[in-house]
Symmetry: C2
Subunit: 233 residues, 2 copies
């Protein structure tokens, strides 16, 4: 039996062409993509330059021999491969379980194409069942939290580690609040309303950014979802 995440990652990495400037995501699924890109560099002599969405991904990419650049060095990225926590209607995504939602969104917005890779558990309904991460400024964050609580009752400050009293701090020095919405009826509207809050830096809702989603399966096959909901084998 194959790992569905790895199956999706290997398929996505086939879209990487020689000479491309790519974005690489953060998390366990994106890690498989980093590995697959590293293997293609070794076996085929593939030439790419990559922007990493977190310090963890940057370190891992360096270990796999992927040449890294700063996002500010380029006008745009050709392709970004990243994971997601949940996939919803019209390829709306919940991202940020790995804590890198801000950089992931900046990189996604800078990319001509965004391929999301995951296993089919990320497709469960209703959309919004996975907690929605929101990156906030530490200054006055308890007041920002109260504004988030107007949207749902359960809003939890993410800890550094499961039992740590210290909050998790992103690469950009931000805290993350996980909003337990249960369901999100209108993702673009929610994204816009949350982002308007003073103290909110970014919301882990990605609307209109994904070009396609690849779901991997144990038997090695991949199912592709496009923004218009059409599923292809």
């Amino acid at each position: 039996l194959l790992d569905p995440k790895q199956v999706a990652a290997r398929k996505a990495v086939k879209a990487v062409k020689d000479g491309m400037t790519i974005g690489i995501g953060t998390g366990s699924t994106a890690a498989f993509a980093i590995q697959a890109i590293g293997e293609r560099i070794k076996s085929e002599g593939l030439h790419v330059r990559a922007v990493a969405t977190s310090s963890r991904s940057r370190e891992m990419a360096a270990e796999w021999g992927i040449p890294l650049i700063d996002l500010c060095e380029v006008e745009a990225l050709d392709l970004t491969i990243d994971g997601a926590d949940q996939v919803g209607p019209n390829l709306s995504l919940i991202k940020g379980g790995g804590g890198a939602l801000l950089r992931e969104k900046i990189v996604a917005q800078a990319s001509r194409e965004l391929i999301i890779i995951c296993d089919e558990t990320k497709r469960h309904t209703p959309f919004g069942q996975h907690p929605l991460p929101v990156a906030v400024v530490p200054f006055g964050h308890t007041l920002t939290r109260r504004r988030l609580e107007r949207f749902c009752q359960k809003v939890l400050l993410r800890p550094k580690a499961p039992d740590s009293p210290e909050p998790y701090l992103t690469d950009d020095g931000l805290y993350i609040y996980d909003m337990h919405m249960e369901a999100i009826a209108d993702p673009p509207q929610l994204e816009q309303r949350l982002k308007q809050i003073v103290g909110v830096v970014e919301v882990g809702l990605f609307n209109g950014l994904a070009s396609r989603v690849l779901f991997g399966f144990h038997d090695g096959h991949v199912e592709e979802l496009l923004p218009d909901h059409s599923a292809h084998l």
Copy 2:
């Protein structure tokens, strides 16, 4: 001749009551308010607790013997006194010349009352003539800048010092872009549209936040402006 900024600051500080929790702004005008509060603590034994909007204001408040607290310790602030770079229709403000717009906005939003103090040069028209500061995430900031340039041609990264090649870094680790708009027709709409940009943390446009604006004059008199445009002596 008196300093108009100091005239406005002294008048505003009269609104501080014993036992209040207050917010203190950043910049040359706010500095006069810090001084006036410190003097009242010394002469009258005034009891207040204050939240500072920058490390500079915090240091200055400490020197003047003002007890400081963290914004997260309170539910709300009774009153905030701060300066502004330009005052426009219905008390819309441009703020952030001092680089503290994010914390100033968080504190303003947490305050039951916001008194803005300035001299009358801050009232010149058209609104938007003063550059509009926008706080952005350093990661990928040149791409964020290009999105800001869709609103106006001249968007300048603020340097650490006038001739420094290094960018200015805020207390929250952000860069500031100054947008030379020349005129802003619809401040609330512009604020909303700029804040939607991924990579933009906050915009130095304060709409619907100021309770009143006090303009100081050399002869010691103060003119008060309320949100409904009525001017009172």
